[in-house]
């Protein structure tokens, strides 16, 4: 009887651990923090790419209803892939797209824009990466949609934009209006 209980206990434990591990397999390993409107620091300071003036996020997001903050770099290959999507979004005319140039050289950044087109209304530089950390970003590319009126984050994408994300963004903008 005692032996039986032991056997059952072991089998039970094995089955339980199996299902826990199985469930773990389906979970994504990418951790993303919860969106919280208070997480954006609008006082963050940065310099423009095309001039030496300093600005804050408050000044950057003042026109239009929505802002799209896009963190990019010329050395980042996925950023090249997502660039047409940003140009597409800019053609909608409803978005104020702000570029944050992450740990890049000024010359390469300007070359990148000249070569692929400029979807950004304003570009600021982040040579040390500190500004991106202040925005709660992980790296490049990363895109954050902000409602300018309520000053809240509506959506955040880690990684390059694609067809699916573009469609999703368009729906969000349409529904929020």
């Amino acid at each position: 009887m005692v032996k039986n209980i032991k056997l059952i206990a072991v089998v039970f434990l094995v089955i339980v651990s199996f299902f826990i591990l199985l469930k773990g397999l389906n979970k994504t390993n990418n951790y993303s923090p919860n969106l919280n409107s208070s997480n954006i620091d609008f006082n963050f300071k940065a310099k423009f790419l095309y001039s030496n003036e300093e600005t804050t996020l408050y000044e950057l997001i003042n026109d239009k209803d929505f802002s799209l903050i896009n963190i990019w770099a010329s050395w980042c290959l996925p950023c090249r892939d997502e660039h047409p999507y940003l140009l597409n979004l800019n053609s909608l005319g409803k978005l104020n797209i702000i570029g944050i140039n992450y740990k890049d050289s000024e010359v390469n950044a300007k070359k990148f824009i000249k070569e692929l087109g400029n979807p950004y209304s304003k570009i600021v530089v982040d040579p040390s990466g500190v500004n991106s950390i202040e925005l709660g970003a992980y790296g490049v590319p990363e895109t954050i949609l902000i409602n300018n009126n309520s000053k809240t984050i509506l959506k955040k994408y880690i990684g390059p934009l694609d067809d699916k994300k573009l469609a999703e963004l368009k729906i969000i903008i349409k529904n929020e209006n």
């Binding site: 390993n29 951790y31 923090p33 919860n34 919280n36 208070s38 997480n39 992450y102 740990k103 040390s128 990466g129 500190v130 991106s132 950390i133 202040e134 925005l135 709660g136 992980y138 790296g139």
Partner: protein, 120 residues
């Protein structure tokens, strides 16, 4: 004599500058050891050489220079990246098992041992 004093003062200044600098970067190390590098999981920010971790170390240094204490820096990062960034998880409904389970196991094991001993 004057030159001697001058040289000594210069050395003293360099020395004290180095000391304070070392103390400061030690603090960065200490804080960054308690932070999880989010894009290279399994490593701390201190261990990692990724862009994310390097920026994070600069940010910590900036915050120290601003006069923020450890607690304020951890809180700032938690507000940006959530609880996951620190290695020391707080007790909440998601982590309660993590904190309580070792205690339960400890008590359970103690009972087992006591019973074995008293049977003998």
């Amino acid at each position: 004599m004057k030159i001697k004093i001058l040289v000594l003062t210069i050395f003293y200044l360099i020395g004290s500058f180095n000391l304070s600098y070392a103390a400061n970067s030690k603090k960065v190390d200490q804080i960054s050891k308690n932070l999880r590098c989010l894009i290279c999981q399994g490593q701390s920010v201190y261990d990692s050489q990724s862009d994310f971790a390097l920026s994070m170390k600069i940010l910590i240094q900036n915050k120290i220079d601003e006069g923020k204490n450890d607690e304020q820096i951890y809180d700032f990062l938690k507000s940006k990246y959530g609880e996951w960034i620190v290695y020391d998880p707080e007790i909440n409904k998601n982590t309660v098992l993590l904190w309580v389970l070792p205690l339960i196991l400890f008590v359970f094991g103690g009972i087992l041992i006591l019973r074995k001993v008293s049977i003998k």
